[in-house]
């Protein structure tokens, strides 16, 4: 793409959660809201220095790429309060109890309910499986056209596994509330589900030489340029 001013245009924030939210719109790709100002996406690239004596104590002779995570800061002004409450609960480990779409605001899962300390957000399950509380966050420009090539069209930005982190601010008063949120995206991947044959190669999962339960970072995705409208894993 030639040099140009980069205008990402009006962006709608979509969110999608796991199958345990079945019956609620968040179990499919649903609108969360519109931002008040720029959405700030901050990938954090992690490197480990490799030092050798010949290079002195301060400058590495090489670096190891040690994955990355990302922080997404969004101030919502026109948003779906109910969907956001679900995002909040999922980010708190999913709370306890059962989600019932017919009695969503009931005492079954009171707002602010915490999951037990130490609850795994991913729960060793694949994305969108029941019990995986990570959310998929999609930032989609208004005139997104997925028929155009990446070099031509305005592409979305999708983070496959995010949670709300730190604190969010929900003002309460007579003025329009601006909901300030911070999300963290990590390259979540579930442990490999394969068994090792007697020859030392995997009998399923197609990953040679991997042990069942191993967590492999190769090929994990922090973000991509697709959307969740087509329900895929």
């Amino acid at each position: 793409m030639a040099r140009d001013f980069q205008v990402s245009k009006e962006t709608m924030v979509f969110v999608r959660g796991g199958e345990h939210l079945s019956g609620l719109s968040i179990s499919t790709c649903t609108e969360l809201g519109l931002p008040y100002k720029d959405i700030i996406v901050s990938p954090r690239l992690i490197h480990k220095e490799i030092n050798v004596d010949d290079y002195g104590p301060n400058i590495p002779f090489d670096l190891m790429a040690n994955l990355a995570d990302a922080t997404i800061s969004i101030d919502f002004i026109h948003y779906d309060k109910r969907e956001f409450e679900l995002c909040s609960r999922e980010s708190m480990g999913g709370g306890v109890g059962v989600y019932n779409p017919d009695i969503f605001d009931s005492k079954v899962v009171p707002d602010g309910t915490l999951a037990p300390a130490g609850t795994l957000i991913g729960g060793n399950k694949k994305m969108f499986a029941s019990g995986n509380h990570f959310l998929s966050l999609s930032l989609i420009p208004f005139d997104y056209d997925n028929s155009l090539s990446e070099e031509v069209g305005v592409r979305p930005l999708r983070f496959r596994s995010v949670v709300l982190v730190d604190k969010y601010e929900l003002p309460m008063g007579i003025k329009t509330s601006i909901l300030k949120t911070t999300w963290r995206a990590i390259p979540y991947v579930r442990p490999i589900n394969s068994s090792l044959s007697t020859s030392g190669s995997s009998t399923s999962g197609g990953l040679i030489g991997r042990y069942s339960g191993e967590i492999c970072s190769s090929g994990t995705i922090l973000w991509d340029r697709n959307d969740d409208f087509v329900l895929s894993g």
Binding site: E31, H78, F142, Y144
Partner: protein
């Protein structure tokens, strides 16, 4: 169109409000003592690059609003009172206040109960180019004379591109009407 002097003519100011008001049809507000001034305010964001110094290399159009100022001298006071009440987000009586933070548009369409924006219409009997401002309200300061001489009513209006859903099916503000040249009915 060929060049010519443009004469708008005797301009009647009409207003139309939501169905909860007596202004549910196009209603005369009054005649001005002098010219009525329409001031479109275009918003833009400069694109600055270091290579271009302090002057923008391009500008992003960030929508527009509009101001209309008029001094009415031959006026329907009852209609004006309703205009003032609606401009105060539907005050229950003249001089009273609604709850602080009440939305003017109320999240409902034009002229529906709860939407307090007014349709401000200016006739054009000579020029043939009337103005219709879709979402107008009195804002900032107004002036009302009181004395033995005829009173002048200085009214300042603001017109914004109100919408219910800023997402607009993915189109954003595209197609949102700020004004046109057809009167309300």
């Amino acid at each position: 169109m060929a060049r010519d002097f443009f004469i708008n003519g005797e301009t009647m100011v009409y207003v139309k409000g939501n169905t909860d008001t007596p202004l549910s049809g196009l209603t005369e507000l009054g005649l001005a003592s002098e010219k009525i001034t329409c001031t479109p305010v275009f918003k833009g964001e400069d694109l600055i690059v270091d290579a271009w110094g302090d002057v923008p290399v391009d500008v992003q159009f960030m929508l527009a609003e509009l101001r209309v100022s008029m001094t009415l001298v031959h006026i329907d006071r009852a209609v004006l009172d309703i205009v003032i009440r609606e401009s105060m987000a539907g005050a229950s009586s003249i001089g009273s206040l609604p709850r602080a933070g009440t939305r003017m548009g109320g999240g409902v369409p034009r002229f529906v109960s709860g939407n307090h924006y007014l349709g401000l219409n200016l006739s054009s009997p000579v020029g043939g180019k009337p103005w219709r401002f879709f979402f107008a309200y009195l804002f900032d300061q107004q002036e009302i004379d009181m004395g033995t001489k005829r009173s002048f009513f200085v009214l300042n209006w603001r017109v914004i591109p109100y919408t219910i859903d800023p997402y607009n099916g993915g189109l954003g503000a595209l197609g949102t009407q700020l004004w046109d040249h057809t009167l309300d009915t």
